[in-house]
Assembly symmetry: C2
Homo-oligomer: 340 residues x 2
DNA sequence: AAATGTTACGAAAACGGTTTCGTGTTGATA
DNA sequence: TATCAACACGAAACCGTTTTCGTAACATTT
């Protein structure tokens, strides 16, 4: 077993001081040419690499970013993560991921663990439970300790930090408007319980589009589904009870479930019923017909979040720049489940 | 801004030495009761937490695990990762993820970065390019430096370390046997280019099942598809040219693409053509009919990998235990795309 | 009273780097 | 020849812990 070589080893071997070795390897002009050459050659031969931990301790920065996401087995978060990882890596940062699993406690514990020196900053999307409890003291404390945070997608107004969000209101307004333009009037919304601010925003856009086009709002055309269950029955009843011409779903799972039900009931997609979902994932792309959907550009979102965080971490300004909230523009991808 | 408090701060404030503080907080009986109480109270009040970096430097272990996966936007890897994260977290480890993006260079660079002190061990699945090049010197060097590695799924015999794999051969034999038992004879295999040892294994199981049942192997019934393209045309031709009664696909994307094509061509699933895919992901569960598929139990695989790694890292044995290769038993989930 | 043991704490080294400052040896200048 | 930079390098502090070892003060034993 070849042990990793340290400055001390090199120093001893070449009979110079540790500081000389350190300086030589950084090409300091304090050190004479021959000494430098000797040291460099030796270091290269033994494949010397400085110890990251020692550097972190000395420099008081780790070049690690902490990412906390509610769920990794989820297309949107996965793409955001990929965006973060790519940009961070490119900038010489590593990414430590923790999964909060939608739990407040896990979110808190993970963040506190990482905050004790393991990372220089956080990127996170709030867990469902955190949003429900509306308790953000853990975030505030970390910010207070000078650890920068960037929130994405599931954010809150209650903490002052950088944020990246989707223009949920606007894009769902646009989607519903598309339904209306293509002749639908009875437009349904299938959503989740509303402690998610994103569901809330999507509903807001839905209502706005109706209002803009003088279509009366019908409470019965909104279906709220629990997460992760087989909702086939509820959806079937929903479509049997109501004469629906178009439906906006807040995620792609609901959307494909709808498609199945609708086809089962004998309606033609998109001629009789149009569908738009959220998240341009694998389901949307491989369903038949292919699902029209709102692309959330997760990768772009992750990249932007990472960029904002790294910017702030590396900023040398004495006065802190004001916090920004950046908006990623979602786009409506029109495929086979809508009349285009 | 509240700066994090250190042992030194406490020592100065309470007018004792740093060592006394350290010992008091660890409840050492070297320290008198009152001193201990004073220090503990103070530490608690100021919410003292030891600095992870300093601990890492001192203890020569980081409690971090490096995970290198080829692609995160991929159901199987995502579930494996979740398994790793859950177990690691539970054991007090954090997880640093790097995405190799199927690139040899990224795999090498990322591993070397992390190996310089950032992590205590690796869990990885080889990138496609690494498998193609058959170059594993980076792995061997790290092992040689005493850094433990656990390979999962995409492994190689060329490096001596712990491994976790799926019983690919057996499960695809089982799947094809199921086709045969339910009356199919003309059984196709849709696979990827074979530098993936997993594809290779699945093909082997396929062949074995045919042989066991005295069904002659027909080269024409194997379709090799490039990755990530729209393969609809190729698949359509394939089904038009050959009279096929059942098809095994090495992933779920191929499987749903097949389903679409088959339905388009007017065949009934599963009555005229049966399908089995690999990966029990979102696609399989929400297709119609629901896809019969091979569940790879990624989470279990990840958990096992993490367990093996942590075991080895924490082992105090002087003689190293021999390397093990553990096999995760995949299961065939029979749903609507097969006759059951 | 001397020897010994116990208690309660501090000094210092160590982990692996970076960086500031000091200094002995040159060679050039006045 | 005395003075002074410039050069080339080393000593030591520092980052925040843990841990070994030393020791002053007091108590106990013989």
């Amino acid at each position: 077993m070849k042990q990793k070589i340290t400055l001390k080893d090199i120093a001893k071997e070449l009979d110079v001081s540790i500081s000389t070795v350190s300086k030589a390897l950084k090409n300091s002009k304090e050190i004479g040419k021959d000494t430098k050459d000797r040291i460099k050659a030796f270091a290269k031969f033994y494949n010397y690499r400085p110890n990251n931990i020692a550097l972190s301790l000395k420099n008081k920065r780790t070049k690690n970013i902490g990412v906390i996401i509610p769920d990794i087995v989820h297309h949107f978060f996965t793409t955001v993560f990929r965006g973060i990882e790519m940009y961070a890596n490119q900038m010489g940062y590593n990414v430590i991921v923790c999964i909060s699993d939608e739990s407040f406690d896990k979110e808190v514990i993970n963040m506190e663990m990482l905050a004790n020196g393991s990372i220089d900053g956080f990127i996170l999307s709030l867990s469902a439970e955190t949003q429900r409890r509306n308790d953000f003291t853990h975030l505030k404390e970390l910010l207070d300790q000078g650890i920068p945070i960037v929130l994405f997608d599931r954010v809150t107004q209650d903490v002052a930090c950088d944020k990246v969000i989707l223009n949920d209101i606007e894009i769902s307004r646009e989607s519903v408007t598309h339904f209306i333009k293509t002749g639908s009037k009875k437009i349904a919304l299938i959503t989740t319980e509303n402690y998610f601010n994103v569901s809330e925003s999507r509903k807001e856009g839905y209502l706005k589009a109706l209002k803009d086009n003088n279509i009366p709002f019908d409470e019965n055309l909104i279906l709220t589904l629990p997460h992760d269950l087989d909702n086939t029955k509820l959806i079937t009843e929903f479509f049997q009870k109501n004469k629906i011409e178009a439906v906006l779903c807040v995620n792609e799972i609901f959307a494909v479930q709808c498609m199945s039900v609708i086809q089962q009931l004998g309606f033609k997609i998109p001629d009789e019923i149009s569908i738009i979902g959220f998240t341009d994932g694998i389901l949307s792309r491989y369903s038949s017909p292919k699902l029209s959907t709102v692309a959330q550009h997760g990768e772009k979102m992750g990249e932007l979040a990472a960029k904002m965080l790294i910017n702030r971490m590396e900023s040398t300004e004495l006065v802190e720049e004001p916090f920004r909230t950046e908006v990623i523009n979602a786009t409506l991808i029109k495929r086979g489940s809508t009349i285009n």
